[in-house]
């Protein structure tokens, strides 16, 4: 008997729910301060820019730049064993200087990815109704 290998799935909480709910609707949704307009990722219970607790969320453009990346060639979880090599990246979003997220860059040969590449969000089904926002090169 083999055990089905599941991906690492989120235990969604109050702070992360907008991100996952947005993704399931094909939107990249980031925590957004209702008081000062600051975007914050990962989400926290307080805005680090103005200390407001009045936090909401907003869809962002989904466009960004590869800040850095590595090509993962070793799986640290069984789910990734048949997905090697894959590109793990930090993408800086256009919507606010320094607003970055950990993600994957897909749809490109990993060896062709470069720091500074322009990318846009796309959505990959994960499992059990979860959708993962990832990035692909912007069509030239």
């Amino acid at each position: 008997m083999t055990t089905e290998v599941l991906p690492p799935l989120p235990l969604v909480n109050e702070l992360t729910a907008p991100f996952w709910e947005g993704a399931s609707k094909g939107q990249l949704v980031i925590q957004h301060c209702n008081a000062c307009g600051h975007f914050q990722h990962a989400p926290e219970p307080i805005c680090s820019a103005c200390l407001s607790f009045d936090l909401g969320s907003a869809a962002v453009s989904g466009k960004g730049t590869v800040y850095t990346f590595c090509i993962s060639t070793q799986a640290f979880h069984p789910w990734f064993e048949d997905k090697l090599p894959f590109v793990l990246a930090v993408v800086e979003l256009d919507d606010q200087p320094g607003l970055k997220m950990i993600t994957n860059v897909v749809g490109v040969n990993p060896n062709d990815v470069k720091v500074g590449d322009r990318v846009e969000v796309t959505f990959q089904p994960l499992a059990e109704g979860f959708v993962l926002p990832v990035f692909r090169p912007v069509a030239q």
């Binding site: 690492p8 991100f19 990962a42 590595c70 640290f76 793990l88 320094g98 994957n104 720091v115």
Partner: protein, 382 residues
């Protein structure tokens, strides 16, 4: 006005160290503590402070450690699970002694082989907290952010895998000269380095520290007490922590100027010593790029020039800054920073045996960590 005591290192010690000792964290901790007390020539009743740094899932209690060792009463204790590994224990102990809160403090870092940060949670379990925003992308291990820090440096400064390889090769030379502590006994060639497998390209296997079971202990005390002890004391001249605005290592604002830059700037602002006064260095090498970032942050070379600095031979035994003269954690095994404090102490007080540097050092620098948090300190022989 409060008196600020000068702080000295008077004892150093290791537990048995191997890929699998079969020993509990407590036994390793006790072994290292006894070794450090023997080195200092002191008894448990001479100690009035204990500070331990350990991982949350491998917690070692400072008060339990004291009880285990028969230390009757603690004026200061702290068990930390947050921040820059061994250096957190060191910084707490220095602050305690300098402020007069305690006189003689045992500092400890204990780690089991499989205890590195990352590695992923149990399969099939839902991921709590903000790790749910990284693990579904396959981001689990230190090697992942390490590969990304290296890539950023390469993109910003044109550094190459060979630059990081030059560091691995240089410190392996020291390891070969330290056969009793090193797990590796043959020199590394650039071919060996480049042919070693990628973990997270550009990060190679030989960029990673070597996971072992280990405990490391150092004893700190006041100058006054240190003068009466068995070993020639080594003194802290200046010390500092530094952190970044972002706690997540993968999301720090500037990967090529992370916490080592903040800690270094603060440390230099508190001393009359300059980089050119430093004779030897022990720079954290959890991944080889970390030591490279410290060369730049501490001002031993220009920004982005750590590769050229290492290639010039500067970090070798006869260079201007012999670095990681025990072989570093990539070779002697993961001690999470403590080995650098221990080895620089041995070089400065003249107990490094066959590894004594050709030019006896008077000033050394030690460091720990990178990314979100880091610390460094200047040590002097007098």
């Amino acid at each position: 006005m409060a008196k600020k005591n000068r702080v000295a290192i008077v004892g150093v010690g290791y537990s048995d160290v191997s890929r699998g000792t079969g020993y509990t964290l407590d036994k390793l901790t006790a072994q290292a503590s006894v070794a450090a007390m023997n080195d200092a020539g002191i008894k448990p009743t001479d100690i009035d402070g204990v500070v331990v740094h350990s991982f949350p899932h491998q917690f070692v209690s400072s008060t339990h450690t004291a009880a285990m060792l028969g230390i009757p009463d603690l004026a200061f204790y702290s068990g930390n699970v947050d921040g820059a590994a061994y250096s957190v224990a060191a910084m707490h102990a220095i602050a305690a002694i300098a402020s007069g809160s305690a006189e003689t403090v045992l500092t400890i870092r204990t780690v089991h082989k499989n205890g590195a940060a990352g590695g992923g949670g149990p399969v099939g379990q839902y991921i709590p907290g903000n790790q749910q925003l990284s693990q579904p992308y396959g981001s689990f291990a230190g090697s992942h952010w390490a590969g990304m820090y290296m890539q950023r440096h390469m993109a910003m400064y044109g550094s190459t895998e060979e630059d990081f390889g030059a560091f691995a090769i240089a410190q392996r030379k020291f390891a070969v000269a330290n056969p009793t502590e090193s797990f590796f006994h043959e020199e590394l060639t650039m071919e060996d380095y480049l042919n070693s497998r990628y973990i997270a390209k550009p990060l190679h296997l030989f960029d990673c520290d070597y996971p072992v079971d280990s405990s490391s202990a150092l004893i700190f005390t006041t100058e006054e007490r240190a003068r009466d002890m068995k070993q020639k004391p080594v003194f802290f001249d200046s010390w500092a922590n530094g952190t970044t605005k972002e706690a997540d290592f993968s999301l720090v604002g500037d990967m090529t100027h992370s916490s080592p830059w903040m800690a270094s700037k603060r440390m230099w602002s508190r001393t009359s010593l300059k980089p050119s006064d430093v004779d030897t260095a022990g720079l954290y090498d959890g991944f080889s790029f970390i030591a490279m970032q410290w060369f730049e942050a501490l001002g031993f070379c220009g920004e982005g020039e750590s590769g050229a600095f290492v290639r010039s031979g500067a970090t070798s035994a006869t260079g201007s800054l012999p670095t990681n003269t025990d072989g570093g954690a990539c070779n002697v095994g993961r001690r999470h920073g403590a080995n650098f404090f221990i080895e620089v102490t041995r070089q400065l007080r003249g107990t490094a045996g066959d590894r004594a540097l050709p030019k006896k050092p008077e000033v050394g620098v030690v460091s720990n960590a990178v990314g979100g948090f880091a610390a460094c300190a200047l040590l002097t022989a007098e």
